[in-house]
């Protein structure tokens, strides 16, 4: 069993002809979070996609618990949850179905009580059985964020998690992230807003 530390060194990414960033490196230990900052188009999303293994970086090394993530494969993906700025919820399905099927695809069984609790926590009480296409943009976002509660991942990689959320939901999410960090989790997020959270590490692209 390896320790849950993410270490990145000498990372560079090229998009088309342009070098987005080079020599990015950081270490993240349990309980720490990283704020990825930068202008639009500076490569924040590209960095996150490289960190989760969606698009391999041009150069550099990404290790989880000392092992390269390429080699860990499924073991890394089990401990990591990436929420991009896509909805990643099915419009035709209800929030409850979305949550339960997402868990089932990850090979986990999620019982009714657990999934309802997660949805209620994100203020979706009374909308569990309504197809997602009838929900507002912020509510769709909340359905996605409910996965943070049900998935039990140690590393959260969140791309603009506060987009489309109202003030109350922003507080709720930052409380959730703080709780996750206290339980020894790790988080990496991008955001243009000032983060309503205890200070963490930051890198600027």
């Amino acid at each position: 069993m390896h320790s849950a530390t993410l270490s990145v060194s000498g990372l560079s990414c090229i998009r088309g002809e342009r070098r987005l960033f080079s020599a990015v490196g950081f270490d993240l230990a349990p309980g720490e979070w990283l704020h990825v900052q930068g202008e639009n188009g500076s490569g924040k999303t590209t960095l996150l996609r490289a960190l989760v293994g969606l698009s391999p970086p041009a150069e550099g090394d990404i290790r989880w618990g000392g092992e390269p993530i390429r080699r860990l494969g499924e073991d890394y993906r089990r401990e990591m949850l990436y929420l991009g700025h896509h909805g990643a919820v099915k419009e035709e399905l209800t929030p409850l179905e979305n949550l339960k099927l997402a868990a089932a695809l990850d090979g986990r069984h999620l019982d009714e009580r657990e999934s309802l609790a997660a949805l209620h926590r994100f203020g979706l009480k009374g909308r569990e059985e309504l197809p997602v296409r009838f929900l507002s943009a912020g509510q769709k976002r909340r359905v996605l964020l409910a996965r943070l509660v049900t998935r039990n991942a140690r590393l959260w990689v969140l791309d603009e998690p506060f987009t489309a959320l109202d003030v109350k939901a922003v507080d709720m999410l930052s409380a959730l992230i703080a709780e996750h960090l206290q339980n020894g989790g790790l988080a990496i997020l991008t955001s243009h807003q000032a983060m309503p959270m205890p200070s963490g590490k930051a890198i600027k692209l």
Binding site: L54, Y82, A88, K90, A102, D106, G107
Partner: protein, 221 residues
Amino acid sequence: MSAFLAIVRRDLLLAMRRKSEVLTALFFFIIVVSLFPLGIGPEPALLKKIAPGILWVAALLSTMLSLNRLFATDHADGTLEQLVLSPTPLGLLVAGKIGAHWLTSGLPLVLLAPVLGLQFDLDTSALGILVVALLLGTPLLSLIGAIGAALTLGVRGGGVLLSLLVLPLYIPALIFGAGAVEAHISGLGATGHLSLLAALLALAAFFAPWATTAALRIALE
């Protein structure tokens, strides 16, 4: 295994909620097949001769209609990323998606074909061979089609490109599938053709999910 069943269930549930897409491909099959007897006129001998070819070509075209939706919707709403990042092996999930595609677009064709075959004066035993040939051939269409759908994912005008890419690959299925019924009608026996079709299916079942997975990873990079 539970993840495999979960993705099959998910895609079937989605197909249930978007019935029009499944029904469009199905009605397309029915109409194309029915146009030929109306256009050619009541000549039983001629209709009997062209029946296997027409039913098979219509099955290929109707499968094409539903193919570009196979990964495109998941790609557009970001759920495909989540499938790639899931701890479940992607090949298993892709196999589940292909299976669900067959259940919604291939199996209905198999069930409809004997009814439509009556228009062409095919007798019971020939209809039986037609059903067996389609039962072996339509999963092959879904499997090969999935590779094409993954390769053209995110390409503008991907639908036309997909047809150009996939239809030539369907030729062996067409030859052996339609050939089985023809051979049976002419008294040669369909076993040879059906065995070759089954061999192609076994080969595709092994390689297609793997090739599709590789193509999907490239599309998402």
